[in-house]
Amino acid sequence: MTTPDDISDLIARCALRDRSAFEDLYTATSAKLFAVILRILKDRGEAEDSMQEVYVKIWHRADSFAASQYSPISWLVAIARNHAIDRLRQRKPAADDIDTQYDLADSTPGPERQSIARSEQQRVLACLDELDAEKSAAVRGAYLNGDSYQELATRHDVPLNTMRTWLRRALLSLKECMAR
C-alpha cells in the first residue's frame, strides 16, 4: 500500500524530474483521481483527456508541492477537481442529465464508506450527517458532482439566494462540528 509519505516522496522526486517516480505516482493515484474527474464530468472521453491535463499539471507543479503545505492527497485531488470543475463550467449549456445517470443518494453510506478507517475522514462524514439530510446532500452533491449554485437551486427547487444562504450556513456548521 502506498502511504501519504510515499506519495509526498514521489511528488518531491517528480520535482527533480524523476520519470520513474512520475510513473509510480500515476500508478498509485490515477484510479482515485479518475474517479473524482469522471464523477464531475460524467463523460469518459472528456475525463480521459482531463486526466492527461491533470497529470501534466502535476508534473509541472511538483516543485511547488512542498511549499504549499498541503497533504499529498489533498494537493492531487485539488488539482484534479479544479481542472474538472473549470472544464464543466466552460461547457455550454450546462449538462442537465446528471440525475438520470447518477442520482444524488449520497447521504446513505455506501460500502466504500465503511471501509475507510481514517479518523479525519470519519469526522467530516459524521459532521455531514449532523446536518439535515437535504443540506448534507447539497454539500456532497456540490463537492462530488461539481454542481454550481444555480444547478443546486434548480434541483432543490429554491431561489438562488436561498440556496446560497443555505449552503453557507451548512458550511459554517460543518466547520464548527469538525473543530470540536
Partner: protein, 221 residues
C-alpha cells in the same frame, strides 16, 4: 472574527466546494494569487473536504491514457539516436569530434524539446579527459572518460559551476570509463564542468578539496 474575515472564509469554502460560476471562480483565483491569508483558508477547506473525494470507489484508467500522457510529457528522443555516432567516435579526439558535431548540427531535425542538449570536453594537464553529454529530456549527464583515472584509493568528482555560484557536486565519476549521472537539477542550460581529485566516497565538505584535474565548458550541440 470580523465580518470581513467571515466573508473571506466562506468565499474560500465556496471556491473549494466548487459552487461558483466560471466568472466568480476566475475573480476568486485572481485574489488568491496575491493573498496568502486567503490561500491558507483555501488550504484548510481543501483538507477538510478531501475525505469526501476519498469515499469514491477507485475507477481504473484505460492504459491508453498513460501511453498518451507519456508521449506528451516525454516525447521520444529521436534526435539523440543520431548522436550515438558522436558518442562512439568522440574517443578519436577533439578534432574528429568537432567535425562530427558540425555534421550533427547540420543534419539534426528541429528539436522536439526546447531545452538544448549540451556537450563538454573536460580536460587538463593532469591527463584526465572526459567527454560529457547532457540530455535535457532524461535530466542525465552521460560521461565518457577517455583518458586518465583516479589514483589508488581516491575518486574523481564532477562539479558544475554556474556564474559566480560555488561549485555544485554532480557526483563521482563512475569507475567504469562510461556511465550516466542522473542530475538533481531541473534544467541544466549552461555552466562549466570540473573534475577534482577527492577521497574515496567524495568530498567530505561539499566543496572540492583536492586538485582540480580537468575543466571544460558546456556548449549547445
Amino acid at each position: 472574527m470580523t465580518q470581513d474575515e467571515k466573508d473571506e472564509e466562506i468565499g474560500a469554502a465556496e471556491y473549494v466546494l466548487g459552487v461558483l460560476s466560471a466568472e466568480e471562480r476566475a475573480t476568486f483565483e485572481a485574489r488568491l494569487a496575491t493573498d496568502p491569508a486567503l490561500r491558507a483558508e483555501v488550504r484548510d477547506w481543501t483538507e477538510r473536504l478531501t475525505p469526501l473525494a476519498e469515499t469514491l470507489p477507485d475507477e481504473p484508467v484505460p492504459p491508453r491514457v498513460y501511453r498518451q500522457l507519456e508521449q506528451r510529457l516525454f516525447p521520444a528522443p529521436t534526435p539523440l539516436l543520431g548522436r550515438l555516432g558522436f558518442w562512439r567516435m568522440v574517443s578519436f579526439g577533439a578534432v574528429a569530434a568537432a567535425a562530427i558535431l558540425a555534421v550533427i548540427a547540420f543534419t539534426d531535425p528541429a528539436p522536439t524539446n526546447p531545452a538544448p542538449t549540451l556537450v563538454a570536453q573536460i580536460s587538463g594537464e593532469a591527463g584526465v579527459t572526459v567527454a560529457a553529454l547532457y540530455d535535457p529530456q532524461e535530466g542525465a549527464l552521460r560521461v565518457n572518460r577517455l583518458s586518465g583515472a583516479a589514483a589508488d584509493g581516491r575518486a574523481l568528482e564532477l562539479w558544475l559551476i554556474v556564474g559566480d555560484a560555488p561549485p555544485r557536486s554532480l557526483g563521482l565519476l563512475p569507475t567504469d570509463s562510461q556511465g550516466t549521472l542522473t542530475l538533481t537539477i531541473v534544467a541544466l542550460t549552461e555552466g562549466i564542468l570540473a573534475i577534482s581529485d577527492e577521497p574515496a566516497g567524495g568530498s567530505p565538505t561539499g566543496a572540492p578539496t583536492g586538485q582540480v584535474l580537468a575543466v571544460g565548458a558546456l556548449s549547445e550541440v
